[in-house]
Symmetry: C2
Amino acid sequence: MRRSGVTIRDVAAKAGVSITAVSHALNDKGTVSAATRERVRRVAEDLGYQADAFARGMRQSRIDAVGLAIRSLDVLGDYTPEGVYVFDRFAGIFAAKALARGLSVTLVPDISGKAVPPLAFALDGYAVMTPQEDDPVTAILERRGIPYVTYGREPGREHRAWASEDDADAARKALHHLEAAGARSIALVSGADRNAWNLEYAEEYEAWCGRTGAAVRRYSQPEGSGVEGGAEVARRIIADGMPDAVLCMTGRHAAGLQAELQSRGVVVPRDVMVFAASDSEQARMAKPAISAFSFSPAETAEALLDLLVQLLESGTCDGPRRTKVQMRARASTRRASSEA
Amino acid sequence: MRRSGVTIRDVAAKAGVSITAVSHALNDKGTVSAATRERVRRVAEDLGYQADAFARGMRQSRIDAVGLAIRSLDVLGDYTPEGVYVFDRFAGIFAAKALARGLSVTLVPDISGKAVPPLAFALDGYAVMTPQEDDPVTAILERRGIPYVTYGREPGREHRAWASEDDADAARKALHHLEAAGARSIALVSGADRNAWNLEYAEEYEAWCGRTGAAVRRYSQPEGSGVEGGAEVARRIIADGMPDAVLCMTGRHAAGLQAELQSRGVVVPRDVMVFAASDSEQARMAKPAISAFSFSPAETAEALLDLLVQLLESGTCDGPRRTKVQMRARASTRRASSEA
DNA sequence: CTAGTTAGGCAAAACGTTTTATGCAATACT
DNA sequence: AGTATTGCATAAAACGTTTTGCCTAACTAG
């Protein structure tokens, strides 16, 4: 038997009251005398009683458990090379913060597929990581009426319940940083997903090109392709002629790209500067170390939880919330000219 | 309303059968004709019916959801410095593998405390990370009769359902590696937790000392103390006189220790070699890079799931399972003498 | 003194499943 | 022909809560 055995009936019997009284006493619901409430509570404590989650879930809607829909669990799967922990790490941090608020966190893969875990639709709400345009996951949640917040805006959907780094602001800062270091032509290496993160960087990038009159040089590469994907882009860029700087969305792309450029005689940062929109071990370990933005997952997780709790309690929330990234300026964008 | 609305009754009505027939048809349980089964299934599909997890959980024990008790969520909390992802990363990998077997994974903090999430005791089973001696978490699971497996043996408890790296074997390999590189006296920097990982290394270490006649020089430092903790140990070691090599349990301790030694004029690996029993970014980035063992979390997660599923299905399992670590020999243990 | 209110308590319904026990044909056996 | 057996289907019980509606006794107001 899995159940601990002690039910509300046992408590009621031992306390000499009805099960209604027990339920009311423990949940501060009906009208129970202070004396009875106290007695019931003591008995429940003694017996180690804890209401069965399923029985309770059947009656009331809330079960104090939320789902976390992590894309990397589907996309990466087994392929979790050292240094790629963005999502896994966020999961841990998010869970720790949720638990501090009394919420369990259930990790859920793709709920848009066939085999959906039984618990998936029984959860109180969801946090969805980096939704894409026309995301099937948010669509399902929407249809089922399950409240959700997203890490990153979902492009094309009107929804205020999201939090993320301020991507547009970060993009401008990155471009400005490179420009200040002497870059006149900049190439952008985007990821392949159509999420806010990629789209907003692209938008700011094109605005920058328009403003400065620089040619738009945009390359796309699946984020999962990693270091090798970066190298591949490097070859394309060389074929097209070198820009003054390359802005990569991921640290792994940046590292792979830089290494490939160097193997072909290009000197970083002298000939070209490299910048990563998201930091990673590969970026930090590269020689020269690659400048990058580092995030504050704890802050973002907290913001998401604020919104989710608001949503669960009142049905609305005061999102979106934006957090700031921090620039780690490293040697890959430190030009002699800018040091002079 | 959270519930999707379509219940087993709706399916029964539309298919023109009893709810019993529906339940049996969908779960391959009772005696239903092939024709009826097919019809029911089609109707259920059409209506998008999915059995309510709570209602189902009330009747049968299994709900296809397991808990993952991660210590780092309690211990580390907010403090998740870059480079320390062992547990978080394991959570992600474990979840991905569990989901491939149709199991949801719920992250659970300390279930030994007061405020236990309602879902915690309703789960089918648990995976507990690195239990300590007299671990309160396993004690509670034991008392409640909830099946569980542990990542790492729990010292002092007779329990076969665990998997982990083969710590004793790894310890011998590390000591042998250092000895082969010329080390005659070795210091061991353990963590403070009384878990199998720390204890088995200590045991093998003392056995090695006994065999070679070397003095036992064991230092203890909380694993959470990180790089600074390593530096602190370095000062203690210097005060006691330098050994030929230091074997640290964590990469962060090793890195902090090495840096502190170097700042005091000690040259690595010439004067002293440094080895980390668990790899980390700090170990990889140190100069010289620190030799370390890297794990195969995917393999261990798979083994744990094998055992857990066996346990859920039959009540017993064929554990324990041991996985191998891989040695990353780096410059911190590469002596001129051993190269000659 | 009587009618109305209130505080405290309880029985029973409801939640949506699974499981158990039972019924009814139709077929097989003696 | 009468009796087991089998195949299919169902009604009803059970799971452990929360919630609804009702009851009683005690108090309050007139």
